[in-house]
Symmetry: C2
Subunit: 141 residues, 2 copies
């Protein structure tokens, strides 16, 4: 039975275009241990798994994760099957911390959204006043 069906592959520039990053960035992520592309000669060949990792890494970045943090999560996740008790408890600990971070961020975002709405309203008010002023000027001038 064939347990490893041949999956899609991607070139470095494929991924660069898809995620709007430079190839330099992708090679840097590999150097930092976040990606593990196969090689065809010298050339890097990326699997769907690499692609997902890149995606997760970039999302992590948007959420303020350092590359090292993302790598730690990847490594931990990969070793869940072989991890010993201590490792697993450590991982649960980290996961709980990340969840707490995310809860905090949710609060932060919600507050900021309110404030942005307020600022927008205030801004629209100021704008309509400016425009009324302009009309008055036209009339009198």
């Amino acid at each position: 039975m064939n347990t490893t069906p041949k999956l899609r592959t991607y070139s470095i520039s494929d991924l660069a275009k898809e995620f709007d990053v430079t190839t330099r960035t992708i090679r840097f992520y590999e150097q930092q241990g976040l990606l593990n592309p196969a090689r065809q000669g010298q050339t890097r060949i990326y699997s769907p798994k690499d692609r997902v990792r890149l995606m997760l890494t970039l999302r992590g970045k948007r959420l303020g994760f350092s590359l090292a943090e993302s790598k730690e999560l990847f490594d931990m996740y990969d070793s869940t099957t072989e991890g010993d008790e201590k490792q697993l408890l450590y991982m649960l600990n980290i996961l709980e911390k990340k969840q707490a971070d995310m809860r905090q961020q949710l609060r932060d975002i919600q507050r900021l959204q309110e404030e942005l709405n307020n600022a927008e309203e205030r801004c629209r008010d100021a704008l309509s006043k400016v425009r009324v002023g302009k009309r008055q000027k036209q009339k009198t001038g």
Copy 2:
């Protein structure tokens, strides 16, 4: 009529303690134009407004805003009253972009929360299996 009631003030270390940052950080933020403390001789005296700005700056950081971005938002907000039409439209533009950012972050966070939950579950499973294994060993050993 006294339109400027004397409000609470804070020393630099007051704020440093409250927000768990170093005084170096606070001085740096001033240098970058984010804070504008009064002076008593050489010593900096922080107003509630400064305190709020520090708070907002730090929250911005947690959400991935650079100091320059936060400063831009502060400056814009301060000038809403005097801003001309062009300025105001520009500001609305920026605000809409930030809102879009925040919507994206919300999605990011929700996905990550799901994945963290999955990872946690997987981790607990692995943990219980490890523990069962231990018990079996005790019995047989």
